[in-house]
């Protein structure tokens, strides 16, 4: 049984199809990255999973339970982090933590989390910096030993040190059998901690891939020096010009590399470098599709 099973999820707001028939599943112990440009439907999907908004069609099962009908019992097992840290201005961080414990019971890992992320629980929420507000959101999501984490842009506003702390916590959480579903714009973070990614664009899922497989995608950066060459001779639907200055040219090639090598063999090239593109470039490719 998958930890999260989303089938043909649709959410329409009038004529706007925010999410338009997406399906994917996340296995137990997996860290699943949910990517996409702004307005692609990531937060709408997450809100449907949390039962804040109701799907137009389709189903969401989390740990075998219906995300809508069984939302109360499910929320006992879900640690949720919103994309914006909005809490009560006049409450202290500690009062938020106490309030959650009054509804979910005593949290055994709270002290460890407070120590790890270094949050002063006595400060009022309104006086916290944006980074500390984010720390509070993260602690609220991670406390009470959840089985699943649903995280919307978790490391926004966190400094690199705390990002690392968060990443290692997530890795340990997944090793212990926890499941993580997180949306992010931070591609290096996704590359670092996610096992698989789903890419959503215009409400549709354009790819669900293992990070390892994505790295093997046939995309290359080809850089070389060549005198008096018109770049147009290299360009076709799979080859795009990235830059061209002082006889130095950078091309981005999708698919088989042999074609461009064949074309390069017909001109005088001073030096040549062919590398796999970064994972970030691959993501961007999906974003722009």
């Amino acid at each position: 049984m998958s930890a999260i099973e989303v089938s043909n999820l649709k959410k329409y707001f009038g004529k706007t199809h925010a999410v338009d028939g997406i399906s994917f599943s996340v296995e137990k112990g997996e860290v699943f990255g949910f990517l996409g440009p702004n307005g692609a439907g990531k937060t709408t999907t997450i809100r449907c999973m949390m039962d804040f908004i109701r799907p137009t069609d389709g189903s969401i099962k989390i740990l075998g339970e219906d995300a809508q009908k069984d939302s109360v019992s499910l929320k006992e097992k879900i640690g949720y982090l919103s994309d914006s840290s909005r809490f009560y201005d006049h409450w202290s961080a500690g009062k938020h933590l106490l309030f959650q414990q009054s509804l979910r019971g005593h949290s055994n890992n709270l002290e460890e989390l407070l120590q790890k992320f270094g949050l002063n629980r006595n400060l009022k929420f309104s006086s916290l910096s944006s980074g500390n507000k984010r720390k509070l959101s993260i602690i609220l999501a991670l406390m009470n030993d959840p089985k699943i984490l649903i995280l919307d842009e978790p490391t926004v506003s966190l400094d690199p040190l705390l990002q690392n702390t968060f990443h290692s916590y997530i890795e340990d959480f997944a090793k212990d059998g926890g499941t993580v579903f997180m949306s992010s714009h931070n591609l290096s973070e996704v590359e670092k901690i996610c096992d698989r990614v789903g890419i959503i664009k215009d409400g549709k899922m354009v790819a669900v891939e293992k990070i390892g497989n994505m790295r093997l995608a046939k995309m290359y950066d080809v850089s070389f020096h060549a005198d008096n060459i018109d770049p147009k001779i290299f360009l076709d639907e799979n080859t795009k010009l990235v830059s061209h200055a002082n006889s130095f040219m950078v091309l981005k090639v999708k698919g088989e590399i042999n074609q461009i090598i064949e074309k390069l063999s017909k001109v005088k090239v001073h030096d040549l470098e062919i590398t796999h593109v970064s994972l970030e470039d691959i993501f961007m490719e999906y974003y722009q599709k």
Binding site: R47, M50, D51, F52, I53, R54, S71, V72, S73, K75, E76, I78, Y80, S82, S84, R86, F87, Y88, H96, F99, Q100, S102, L103, R104, L140
Partner: protein, 268 residues
């Protein structure tokens, strides 16, 4: 549920305390002034008795009106003809507006909805906390007359204030329940306040117009101000239709609001 109710009561306590104090201070003013006002009215009644009956008729008064100048008559004309109703309505709309629409507007509702509490439980926890707070306000605004009158050695009819409390509670809760329904429907506090206050104003205008023109007399039936009248104090009578109207508005608004809130999308 009790935790949610208690937290909400703590959140809203200061506005209720301020409204209670304002109400009690006004009552204190009227009760403390009552002995001297009563003495003046009796002297005036003696003067009026010397005037010809025709002139009194022309002036639209009678000495009996002044000799029957009770504390209930004074409070009925000063505090409970409009001031109490307005304070109660403003407080009720303000509490209701903050309860759900205010939470959506501030974005804090996501924190609450991500907890293992059903929407229905959350809705009624908020509703009941408002009921508790408004009951405190209505009790302070009506029943406090009894100790105040006793302190100033002023004669009073205790049963009138119990009845006033009962109808005042129903009036305030009817306004609250309707505003709470608006709060469960909309996502901004401003809309709840705007529509709620607009309706109360319309009801008051309808009530005033119905007293000015005989052919518009029936307009009074659409106004809450008709069912909560000062007659409760002066004659001790309660409008039974008013009890039904207020109770129906409370039950219907709370129920429809609950159905709507449990089904709606909440996106902050």
């Amino acid at each position: 549920m009790i935790r949610l109710i208690w937290e909400t009561i703590k959140e809203r306590k200061w506005s209720v305390i301020i409204y209670c104090l304002a109400s009690i201070l006004l009552l204190l003013l009227y009760v403390s002034l009552y002995p001297s006002l009563q003495a003046q009215s009796q002297q005036l009644a003696i003067v009026l008795k010397t005037l010809p009956e025709g002139l009194l008729k022309a002036l639209g008064t009678a000495p009996s009106q002044l000799t029957n100048f009770t504390l209930e008559a004074l409070l009925g004309s000063k505090q409970f003809s409009l001031v109490f109703q307005m304070l109660g309505a403003i407080l009720a709309i303000s509490i209701a507006g903050n309860d759900i629409a205010g939470e959506i507007e501030k974005g804090t509702i996501e924190f609450l909805l991500s907890q293992p509490v059903s929407r229905l439980k959350f809705y009624f926890a908020r509703f009941l906390s408002g009921v508790v707070l408004l009951t405190i306000f209505v009790a302070a605004s009506t029943l406090s007359v009894i100790p105040l009158a006793a302190a100033f050695h002023v004669a009073y009819v205790a049963s009138s204030y119990y009845k006033l409390f009962f109808m005042g509670e129903l009036f305030t809760l009817a306004v609250y329940a309707f505003a709470f329904f608006l709060s469960a429907t909309f996502s901004t506090k401003g809309r709840v306040s705007g529509i709620g206050a607009g309706l109360i104003t319309l009801m008051y205008v309808a009530f005033i117009v119905s007293t000015l023109k005989d052919n518009l007399d029936k307009l009074k039936y659409i106004s809450f101000f008709h069912y909560f009248s000062t007659e409760i104090l002066t004659s001790g009578t309660i409008d039974r239709l008013g009890i039904w109207i207020f109770s129906t508005v409370i039950v219907l608004s709370a129920t429809i609001g609950a159905i709507f809130f449990t089904r709606r999308d909440i996106a902050v």
